[in-house]
Amino acid sequence: MSGLKIKVISRNPEDYLRATKRDIHKIQRNYDPTQHPLEAPREYVRALNAVKLERVFAKPFLGSLDGHTDGVSSMAKHPNRLSMLASGAFDGEIRLWDLTSRKCTRNFIAHEGWVRSICFTPNGQTFTSAGDDKTIKTWKSEVENPDDEDPMNTLLSMSVVSGVSHHRDKPIFATCGEHCQLWESTRNEPVKVFKWGVDSLHHVAFNQVENNLLASCASDRSIILYDCRETAPLRKVVLELRSNALSWNPMEAFMFTVANEDYNLYTFDVRKLKQPVNIHLDHTSAVIDVDYAPTGREFVAGSYDKTVRIFETLKGHSRDVYHTKRMQRLTCVKWSLDNKYIMTGSDEMNIRMWKARASEKLGVLKPRERTALNYADSLKEKFAGHPQIKRIARHRHVPKHILNAQKELRTIREKSKKKEANRRAHSKPGAVPIVPERKKHDVKEDE
């Protein structure tokens, strides 16, 4: 036949096969959707697998730092060396740790009685500790000669000292006890004393961004804000129960979170103290300590219920919960400055190291591994709302005492909810308004 033109698919195998055995395989791709049928259910199954694998690989516990002979009372992280950690115990001993080798590099008795608080200076060369013996001692971080083992400076306070926090760049630090006192490292007397008719203060923290601002927690259930340039305290927020610790958000200088005795954590905005920005529920006992991640997106809280919980700043419930059989009441928690690890100190003399993200792979990732993980992450995000995936992602095994306590708290909460709803149903419309959780907690603001 005239004008006959035929083309037939005829592939040369050489174009599709590798030339030698040492070569990589040739992979021909075609992104046409008809070549990839059942896209949605396959993605769903991949997401399900990814979320299951995440739970399989969730092994957050890295190791414990063993050495203290009494419960750990306080910890401090070095401002520019990731591997260094200082910890103080109830027997007055201070230990310095090398986290990479998980060994104690130095230990000495610093105080008689508790080491109430430790804090590094911004350059990291020295650190200050405050103890029950009313002394504030400054120590060198590195020991080069035997003289360095003694305190560089010892200050005697007239009253008890229970907390210490250093200014970001000035040689000033604040202590709390009966009053909030500002010290200069060269002077023996406090530079300034802030008083607001309070029995005692038990925690103080300098804001590291808006660096003249500091806040302290008082025993009369209040949180007091100070400006170190002023002579008097700025303002005060009174909560229902006492706050145990306070941590400033390192990225949003106006936000801080307090760990409260009423099992909750409260995030406040200093510009609007009337009501908390967010309430973080989930602990089943008093929350003892809180520390922000350097990203400011998350924080870690240690509680008296023997668990550590990680919260997202914008969410009301915890993202993860860490516990071990042997870990007792938490006394202090710290989030490492590389945003990867969490250190917790507890009653039973151990400091524990955890991963900040439980299923994260430590170490260097190969590019293909990285893309696979990124793909899994985006799939998890895409299908996060599906009941099956949500259930697996949310499931955490907790010890029985926590489970029982959670159940109890749930029934209590449900009971009050039900009662309120019943009252609403049987009274005039609008007489019993719906109050959001944030407004329920009685907060008073004083100036």
């Binding site: 036949m1 006959l4 033109k5 083309k7 791709r29 992104y31 049928p37 259910p41 769903y44």
Partner: protein, 568 residues
């Protein structure tokens, strides 16, 4: 704003040395030039404008990315943009950002089309000729040697053969009514195994890899490996007539003589769905690759679609008024072709099951139908195979190709990723070339004809990890990513769980309002309408009669005329 800027020549260090320079300096000072420069507040932009003095008419050297063909973009589209009705600004922004990402992905995929190495086949003749008459001999003479080897015939003596290609189009499975079972790599013609099972074989199927194959024999289903060794005898599935393998679900769907449907999960060996379809004996079966539903055609001319977890058909359609002879569904799950004993061939839009798109009348009733990857439809008519191209969207008059044989056709399948149609006949197997029927570019992560053994093993593990559970077989495969809107019943159930709320009594049964009226009412309306009509007519007639009366001159009362009532 600056105006009247005086420009002076700045003194240079060499001006003093050069005498000629000093003369020029005086001239420069004498000559005062005035510039009117209007500076706007955004002086930065003005300066920029002044700097660039592009010669007009010259093309921009770097016009940016090359434009993408809108057809290609459409091919990679995942649906329209969403998020129009989202009220909350944060969520709206989130959706918008996501849409940008989707759009980017779509564009990148469309751009990647340039990397595809192969082009689709075609068959062209002069304008006054038709391609129908081109024989396989002519094709074999006009194509290269390797392609010509794809035309071959196997003369086998064990009666009508059924054939199936493996998913990557590399391997071929033959099973005869008289028990002959053979598997081979049809490209290299290397035989894997050849046995006679000494029983009738009703249907055959490859499983997920080419090392396993299933044969529905007289009594039970048997699974063999590629050496012909019997691995399993599945007695849960008996007297099977037709089988289909769903590769992404690892399900072997089958229908037996008594109308029982069963889905066997071949990865765990469990039957995930087994029920009676109450359609009676039917051997017209296919599966929809778009949503993995099984389509069954029965002797009443009804095509029904089945999923393993629902014991009723999810969709039903009356296609013909006579018994069905064959069904085929295309790759994209858009078109379904059905044929009945009334010699008709109808093309349906599966996603919108009303009215056939095309209705053809054939010379005789079709024995088998099959769609190729490029939507060509092969129709078996006794001893002839006719291949139609583009027959779904438009009505075609003549087939694209026609192939005659001297034996009756049993079944045929297009070979994936090749321009080949394999025909199982009563006298063996023959393979013919159909240019332009196969997809030229494969995706090696889905199906790879050049797969090595290690790649096959790797792919098998990956595929098993991604096995889709049978519950996800639905009419719309994208249902799993759609928003789940709770029904009224779900909402009521959730409310009744709250202990403080009394549950309202709502009858959830749908009341079918009588759309038609009762006979009496209908009669009343007809009567009323008739009455109205009659009145209207009489009025009109009266008016016509009245008109001349009104034109009569009336008696005048002078000024008092204004009190006479006016006629309308």
């Amino acid at each position: 704003m600056k105006e009247n800027t005086v420009l002076r020549k700045t003194p240079r260090y060499f001006d003093n040395n050069d005498e000629n320079g000093s003369t020029s300096k005086t001239t420069a000072v004498d000559k005062v030039e005035t510039y009117n420069v209007v500076m706007k507040p955004h002086s930065k932009w003005v300066r920029k404008k002044l700097q660039i003095d592009e010669p007009k008419g010259k093309k921009n050297k770097f016009p940016g990315k090359a434009p993408i063909d809108s057809k290609k973009l459409e091919k990679h589209s995942r649906g329209d943009e969403i998020g129009k009705g989202v009220r909350h600004p944060i969520h709206a922004l989130k959706l918008k950002k996501k849409e940008i990402k989707y759009k980017y992905a779509q564009e990148q995929a469309a751009r990647a089309d340039i990397l595809l190495t192969e082009n689709a086949g075609y068959l062209q003749v002069d304008e006054d000729h038709r391609t129908t008459g081109i024989t396989q001999k002519a094709i074999a003479e006009n194509v290269d040697i390797t392609a010509a080897t794809k035309i071959f015939e196997l003369k086998l003596e064990f009666g009508p053969y059924r054939t199936k290609y493996s998913r990557n189009g590399r391997h071929l499975l033959l099973g005869s009514k008289k028990g002959h079972l053979a598997a081979f790599d049809w490209v290299t013609k290397k035989l894997h195994c050849e046995i006679n099972v000494m029983e009738s074989i009703h249907d055959i199927s490859w499983l997920h890899v080419e090392t396993m194959l299933a044969a529905a024999q007289k009594e039970w289903l048997y699974i063999y490996d590629n050496t012909g060794m019997e691995i399993h005898c599945v007695k849960k599935m008996d007297k099977i007539l037709r089988m289909e393998f769903l590769p992404y679900h690892f399900l072997l769907a089958a229908v037996n003589e008594y109308g029982f449907m069963s889905w066997l999960d071949i990865s765990i060996g469990e039957v995930v769905g087994h029920y009676n379809n109450y359609l009676g004996r039917t051997s017209v079966m296919t599966h929809n690759p778009y949503n993995a539903m099984v389509c069954l055609g029965n002797s009443q001319g009804v095509v029904s679609m089945w999923a393993p977890t629902v014991k009723k058909p999810l969709a039903k359609i009356l296609c013909h008024k006579t018994p069905l002879t064959a069904i085929a569904v295309d790759q994209r799950g858009m078109y379904m072709a059905t044929s009945g004993v009334d010699r008709s061939l109808k093309i349906w839009d599966i996603r919108n099951l009303d009215g056939p798109l095309q209705h053809y009348k054939l010379r005789s009733s079709a024995t088998d139908l099959d769609f190729s990857q490029k939507d060509m439809l092969a129709v078996g008519l006794g001893e002839v195979v006719e291949i139609y191209s583009n027959c779904c969207t438009q009505t075609v008059e003549a087939p694209y190709m026609r192939h005659k044989m001297s034996k009756s056709i049993c079944n045929f399948k297009f070979c994936p990723y090749e321009d080949v149609l394999g025909i199982g006949t009563s006298g063996g197997f023959s393979s013919i070339i159909v240019p332009g029927s196969g997809e030229p570019n494969f995706d090696a992560y889905e199906n790879n004809p050049y797969q090595t053994k290690t790649q096959r093993k790797e792919a098998e593990v990956k595929a098993l990890l991604e096995k889709i559970p049978p519950e996800l077989i639905t009419l719309d495969p994208f249902e799993v990513v759609r928003v789940d809107v709770p029904s009224l019943k779900d909402k009521l159930d959730a409310k009744s769980k709250l202990l403080h709320v009394k549950d309202k009594k709502i009858d959830l049964k749908i009341k079918h309002k009588n759309k038609g009226l009762s006979n009496i009412a209908r009669k009343k309306i007809i009567k009323a309408n008739a009455r109205k009509e009659q009145i209207k007519n009489t009025l009109e007639a009266q008016e016509m009669l009245d008109l001349p009366e009104r034109q009569k001159p009336t008696q005048s009362f002078g000024v008092l005329d204004r009190f006479i009532s006016k006629n309308k």
